[in-house]
Symmetry: C2
Amino acid sequence: MMGGDLGVPANVSGVRRYVLDGGCPDVSFDLFGNIAPIESAIAKFSDFPTSCCEIHNTGERMISSEERPSVAIKKSGGTSMFEAISHVGLNRADAVVSSGNTGAFMALSKIIIGMISNINRPALISIIPNSKGRSVMLDLGANTECSSLQLTQFAAMGAAVAKVLLDITDPSIALLNIGTERSKGTEILDAAYKILEENVNLNFIGFIEGTDITKGTSDVIVTDGFSGNISLKTMEGTIRYLLHLAKEEVGKSLLCKIGCLFCRRMLISIKNSIDPRRHNGAPLVGLKKIAVKSHGGSDSIGVANAISTAVTLAKSNFITNINDTLTSLETGKGTV
Amino acid sequence: MMGGDLGVPANVSGVRRYVLDGGCPDVSFDLFGNIAPIESAIAKFSDFPTSCCEIHNTGERMISSEERPSVAIKKSGGTSMFEAISHVGLNRADAVVSSGNTGAFMALSKIIIGMISNINRPALISIIPNSKGRSVMLDLGANTECSSLQLTQFAAMGAAVAKVLLDITDPSIALLNIGTERSKGTEILDAAYKILEENVNLNFIGFIEGTDITKGTSDVIVTDGFSGNISLKTMEGTIRYLLHLAKEEVGKSLLCKIGCLFCRRMLISIKNSIDPRRHNGAPLVGLKKIAVKSHGGSDSIGVANAISTAVTLAKSNFITNINDTLTSLETGKGTV
């Protein structure tokens, strides 16, 4: 409850929004944080769903978003983030959601929850809207440098997420590169291509380039955490830039302002479909349990969406599915 | 004249458009390619500026866009691209422009024109529109893996381009990273940061992230060719996706179509400011002469803009400027 730029109020309203907007009725919440601000944020709502929430008071101990993960971990004992992740590690909850310090959340989840066998580090995965629907993309910053083996594991994990979250039976998988030609790119990508193309269980379609991400050329977009992070943030920045440009131009003309009134519904519909809050909730894949990273700047809409992602994953056979696809990747024979 | 998906007709109309749209009156053109299609494309215009153009017939010998650069180079003798670059190499022209095979254009330019001392490979640089104006970004795909030294050379070359093309006196320079914190990123970025921060002649402002590109946080954006290519193409893809989304939504409603009529001028203005054709022409920096890569899909507007970029560079003291900034980078004392 302490994580994110907007802190307790956004997290409290996020829980409320999730429940009141028709979230699964059998979901209950363990809220970790400083009880005083949590209770005062709850008190602002007459309709807060208190019956499905239990507060675990961790006092003022918390990990700040500015702290270096390596430093944060050392003194993490008793913090709201540590206790929330431990609750999942101890099987007392099915999933953990946090808008807090990304590096610390990843490192603590890895230590406390543990990794699926043969996976070294978790990857951050996100849902990206495109012209045909939606796709999943990973890694988005957890691993700045990746081996070819890691990329192939990302492919398998991405396919599992696409099945569960996007309901795609046999997700197509592509490696993000600087061109679609087989000869393009780095040696690491070349090696990953070879492994993936030989695997009969993965629907690998080859290389795609940056312009293909929003075209929806593949259901799963695999890349290293450096390029993935830059690509996703470039996308966010470009959307903001275009909205800024449109606002500036509209401001110059009364005629145009009137025109926009006619287009109100369209503008709202576009704004919603590209609203990052509505795509919020990046699962940390590779862990033995479900952990969902919510954007640091999340408001109640963002938090509610991250909760919804966590619930969907928890209600599916997500971890089993990932394990199966990873096994099939090794054997090249299993049923994916 | 043979390069690009649209071939001779687009290149011929591009030259015509550049001249008739008020290009510099003292510019003359050496057109390399197959004389028959060039003359037939010229014949379609009654106002083609034949007086400032000389055709150099290279027959049917050309480098196709699909060919691997390594293969293309071996049999490049006598092709339109080889002859055009050689013309510049022999000081018979000040700049070469091509929409052809990027890899071959780079490799041949490097061999025929040669590199500035201490620069190993050319970098592709492009102008990016942003909320505050424009910035330059490099490398965009010429060097998939870069050393920290290369990145610092990109910084110096980018600053020189920003001075000449964007008319900025002391361009701010940033390294593209997955976060703005000093601790973020790879060892290569860390080493490049150290070199740049110690150089008093470069206005280095630190790390920026993907969202900052279109914010206009820095005048020069430095990155390796892999991330740069993916970032630029993600931007192109996102713009196309939003236009697609808008078109689809407008198509659903008559009211909205009417609204768009009111906004016609605004829509045209936005479309123009993000039109990649109007930002076409990526200089290959690091060469001893001026070579400008035009997008493979360029039409006459794109080609005209690439020509315009080449002319601006040729009329400035661009190569001297790059040499000076590179020298200052080494000494940390020169006048940048």
